[in-house]
């Protein structure tokens, strides 16, 4: 099911509003990401990135070998683990198979919610346009599809 708990949606709506994340396109997540130690690493193609939550600092690492759109998605995905306040101290995320685990699925959906604004989906989505939207939003095509799926399930469109 492509949906999220109400409290998480409230949290993300608050962040989007607080930092004006959706006021410009493509979405710039730096107001959130700058609160973490962000680095890129020479991971194999299997690994998307990781998030390490420690009492005084949060460390996010992403795969430097992803294309720029993939890197934006990876950063949003790892930040989503932190925003969701999931209980583990370390999240290590694969580039594929994210849909099989609850926390990974949730983080990917949150990444889509952050990087693909509701208004864009409401006003522009139609069959065959996802690749163009993905280019404009600088995200992978799959993330636009996921956001659209969420919008339908959640009654946004």
């Amino acid at each position: 099911m492509s949906t999220l708990p109400d409290e998480l949606l409230d949290t993300m709506d608050f962040l989007i509003h607080r930092y004006h994340l959706h006021s410009r396109l493509p979405v710039d997540l730096s107001p959130i990401l700058e609160k973490f130690e962000m680095r890129k690493y020479n991971f194999t193609p299997m690994t998307l990135g990781f998030a390490l939550v420690r009492p005084k600092q949060i460390y996010i690492g992403t795969n430097q070998n992803l294309d720029p759109r993939g890197q934006r998605m990876a950063q949003a995905h790892e930040a989503a683990h932190v925003i969701a306040n999931q209980p583990q101290g370390l999240f290590v995320c694969k580039t594929s198979d994210w849909s099989k685990e609850h926390d990974e699925r949730q983080a990917q959906l949150m990444a889509a919610y952050l990087l693909v604004p509701r208004k864009v989906v409401e006003e522009n989505y139609r069959v065959g346009i996802a690749p163009q939207l993905a280019v404009a939003l600088k995200v992978p095509h799959s993330l636009v599809d996921l956001r659209w799926s969420f919008a339908r399930v959640h009654g946004e469109i």
């Binding site: 690493y41 991971f43 690492g61």
Partner: protein, 132 residues
């Protein structure tokens, strides 16, 4: 041996054995024997305190002693820290595993240094208050 490196760093910082011992919360006798090589392998906890009092990480201390590889395999304080995260690292490609373990070690050492510095500061403040 770690002792001569401790002595060298202590002298570089113009600290007496007594001052360093107090800051690291060990006895002067222990520190003296460590520096002379009578004691060869301090525990990870003691090493962290001594390193913190010298304002270096344990890894830097081992590096100064020419023993930088030793920490990775033998620091007893590091092992449970890594063990907490071990299940998350299963089934990763070796390169990715090694990168993330490297990050965990760095974070652990930074946290140890910060804790060591805080304890050393607390001890110094307590010492100064005691002299009043």
């Amino acid at each position: 041996m770690i002792g001569p490196a401790v002595r060298q760093l202590r002298l570089q910082r113009k600290l007496s054995q007594e001052t360093l011992a107090k800051a690291a919360r060990v006895s002067s006798g222990y520190l003296s024997k460590l520096e002379r090589g009578v004691y060869k392998a301090p525990s990870g906890e003691v090493l962290g305190r001594i390193a913190g009092a010298l304002s270096v990480t344990p890894a830097e201390l081992y590096k100064a002693a020419g023993m930088e590889d030793f920490l990775v395999e033998h620091d007893p304080a590091l092992t449970p820290f890594l063990a907490d995260f071990a299940p998350k690292l299963d089934h990763l490609p070796k390169r990715d595993h090694d990168i993330i373990v490297g990050v965990l070690r760095r974070v652990f050492q930074e946290e140890q240094l910060e804790d060591g510095n805080r304890e050393a500061e607390d001890d110094l403040i307590a010492t100064l208050r005691g002299k009043r």
